[in-house]
């Protein structure tokens, strides 16, 4: 089992005929993803990698059953595309693009809540259930980086994820599912909202979160742990521990403001809730080894 996505999930790709859309659709299908339809206004009747293209999401869902949608659209068009997918009744949507206007994100988050849907992103590499399916872009062909296993991973950063998963694989582990929630200041889905899915997934034995300075998402995870939402071991690695206050460290969400968002606060919250905290990417693998040795005893 996996969370959110597996090889059965019927995936629609919005923006499938674009350069990135078609390139990554092929990659996804090679990996095992069940891509059933694509949408590009004006391109209905075309095929991409054998997948039929429709003008609109509603025209696609009228013909083909769809469980989830992945967006390859520019940030300016993200809000419209997400609202279109939500309106067509799609409950799982992954938004990859970086640079979505904040107010558009607020409106998307609001609409997703109203419709009871999970919209993931923006500014993310997407989601992958190892060895089964992916929605987004992952270097799945680098097997020293990506291996199926029993660790659930949530992350705010693509490049850092590759660094951490490589250490995890080196330590003898692999991932069950990996959810990139993205580096924006307002992620459309938050860490704490994904946590129950990992708790209920029998194939996930421990969870790794790759966080960073800024916002309160890691503190929310600590709170959820204290409330018993997660009973599995959790290892965290947080970037930006030594970052100065008030500087935006690359990601829009990575900034310490108004006395909130320091890694120190996050670490103390996570420690307090019983999480393991890795000071370096390498320590994620080492801590997992410790945890599973302990469990064997």
């Amino acid at each position: 089992m996996s969370i959110i996505l597996d090889e059965q999930t019927r995936v629609l790709v919005q923006g499938i005929t674009g350069k990135e859309g078609s390139f990554w659709t092929k990659h996804m299908m090679d990996y095992g993803t069940n891509v059933v339809a694509g949408v590009t206004p004006g391109k209905e009747g075309q095929m991409v990698e054998g997948v039929p293209v429709f003008h609109t999401v509603k025209r696609a869902t009228a013909k083909v059953e769809v469980d989830a949608s992945l967006l390859f659209v520019p940030p300016k068009l993200a809000k419209d595309a997400v609202l279109e997918a939500l309106d067509a009744g799609i409950k799982t949507i992954v938004v990859l693009c970086d640079g979505i206007p904040l107010h558009d994100t607020l409106q998307m988050r609001n609409a997703a809540k109203t419709k009871g849907a999970m919209v993931i992103g923006g500014n993310t590499s997407g989601i992958i259930s190892m060895g089964k399916a992916m929605m987004g872009f992952f270097p799945h062909w680098l097997d020293r980086v990506y291996k199926p296993g029993k660790i659930g991973i949530m992350t705010r950063s693509g490049s850092l994820t590759n660094e951490v998963t490589a250490e995890l694989v080196k330590a003898g582990f692999g991932a069950s599912s990996l959810i990139g929630i993205g580096g924006d200041s307002v992620p459309l889905t938050r860490f704490a909202e994904v946590l129950p899915l990992f708790e209920n997934d029998p194939d996930t034995e421990a969870v790794v979160i790759i966080g960073e300075l800024g916002g309160t998402m890691e503190e929310e995870v600590a709170e959820a742990m204290e409330n018993g939402v997660l009973t599995k071991p959790l290892v965290s690695f947080l970037g930006g521990r030594t970052a100065p206050k008030g500087k935006k460290m690359g990601h829009a969400g990575a900034i310490i403001t108004a006395g909130k968002g320091t890694v120190e606060d996050k670490i103390s919250a996570l420690h307090g809730a019983g999480a393991y905290v890795a000071k370096k990417p390498r320590m994620v693998g080492e801590l997992l080894n410790d945890i599973f040795i302990k469990q064997d005893i």
């Binding site: 979505i100 809540k113 270097p139 950063s157 006395g259």
Partner: protein, 375 residues
Amino acid sequence: MKLFEYQAKALFESANIPVPNRVTIENDSEVDDAIRQVGLPCVIKAQVLHGGRGKAGLIQIAGEKEEVKEKVNEVKARSNHMPYLLVEEAVNIAKEFYVSMTAEPVTGDVMIMGSAEGGIDIEEVARTMPEKIIKTTVNVNEGLLPYQAREFLYDLGIENRMIGQGTKLLLNLYDVYWKHDAELVEINPLMVTEEGNFVAGDGKVTIDDNALYRHPQFSLTREHFEDDVQYAAAIEGIPYLQFSGDIGLMCAGAGLTNAVYDLVNDYGGSVASYLEFGGPNYHKAVKSMELIMQNEIKVLLVVTFGTIARADVMAQGLVDAIKEHQPEFPIVTAIRGTGEEAARDILQDFGLEPLSDTEEAVKQAIKLAGGIPIQ
């Protein structure tokens, strides 16, 4: 993008939010005209983007013409690079409040915050006396509703006779927030005059960089940055920060850059600059090198581990940049991810050692900078 006070107040004025009479000047030759418009006494305020202007002597009050000229020159001398000063009528203040609007990330609503402790460091109030902060949330699809504004103002302790104008002010401020894609609008202090009128004593507005295409009237200028390098980086769209250490960091991927930044500090090194050339910038190695070289660094550390940002393209870019700019400092590379085999060959052929381990790369950079990595 942060707006200067004079820009924020112009926005407020166009949204019918009361602001003091004021004029923007560049030097003391404009003082006579300024006084004619705003009267005496007046307040002279440096138009800089950092906080703490009062403490830094960048806000001064003057009662007569010669004093205004003196203080204009004094403030001007203290505010590097910033050509503009605001000369503003001095308002008789009975009370000061704080009010701001920002995004509430957990719910996706807009958060309105206020305090009767205006004019002071609101972060400190939030930390030490959180009960003194009044909050209300606004559903973005409905916008701020008059009854919410009223509730908020009564909770803030606003007098009954001022609730009507306060409600209008908040609704107008919400319009400024929403129509201009603001990340933040803040009035601190929101002054109440002795006559019982609200006046915005200061204005902070930050426009969302991702939405600037919808607001072409705002553009980044040199005055927004401390130096030329930071300005040049921003114009290129390359995230760049400057520190005072030894090692220049050029990494692809913001999260990885953060992690490498920590590793450098943990192993006893120090970062000179932080440049992130991942995402859409991964083919901009030559430009990135140009920016890094404008800063004095002892070593350049290049670390990547990307998917779309291809390792081979970045390695080739790095080689091209070295050929073009001939940097004299040593360069340490750990370039991994998509196309890493090709990247390895490109670096090796050029005589650079391609490392595959981030920590090893960090330690080597510290050694080359003349330090000894802490184990």
